[in-house]
Symmetry: C2
Subunit: 82 residues, 2 copies
């Protein structure tokens, strides 16, 4: 899985786990909703400082956003219909 998608799925996983919308998360983290959407879909190429802001807003370490196994498992669930 491409690294941007890995990040995207992990962000989606962590955000959804908190039952918060993209819109609310965008407000919390100080980003635009469309930008967050792009990161989750893996079409953006965020800088390390952006990733840190996102991780901080989620209350996790940046490394958590790069976890390949968790990203895969979550993607499988979603693709499988959840």
């Amino acid at each position: 899985m491409e690294i941007r998608q890995r990040i995207g799925w992990n962000l989606r996983r962590l955000r959804a786990g908190r039952e918060i919308t993209q819109e609310d998360f965008a407000t919390d983290s100080g980003f635009d909703r469309g930008y967050i959407s792009g990161v989750e879909r893996g079409v953006r190429n965020p800088s390390i400082l952006v990733l840190e802001r996102i991780a901080t807003a989620l209350g996790v370490d940046v490394v958590e956003l790069l976890d390949a196994r968790k990203a895969n498992e979550f993607a499988e669930q979603r693709r499988g219909g959840m």
Copy 2:
């Protein structure tokens, strides 16, 4: 420690461990020599795709570049005079 410095020290640690110069590493990874220098000094804000290219050139996972403990230990050694 700031995240860009964390990356910088880890890059320096891994590159120096291979006994390769910034110049040669720049050639290997396809980046500019001055740019690599800036990343190691923590003054650059690389994107995730750049970090992946750097990690690949080093033969490690991106997560290795974000390891706080290893970055700290290496920085201590260096600052301490090594």
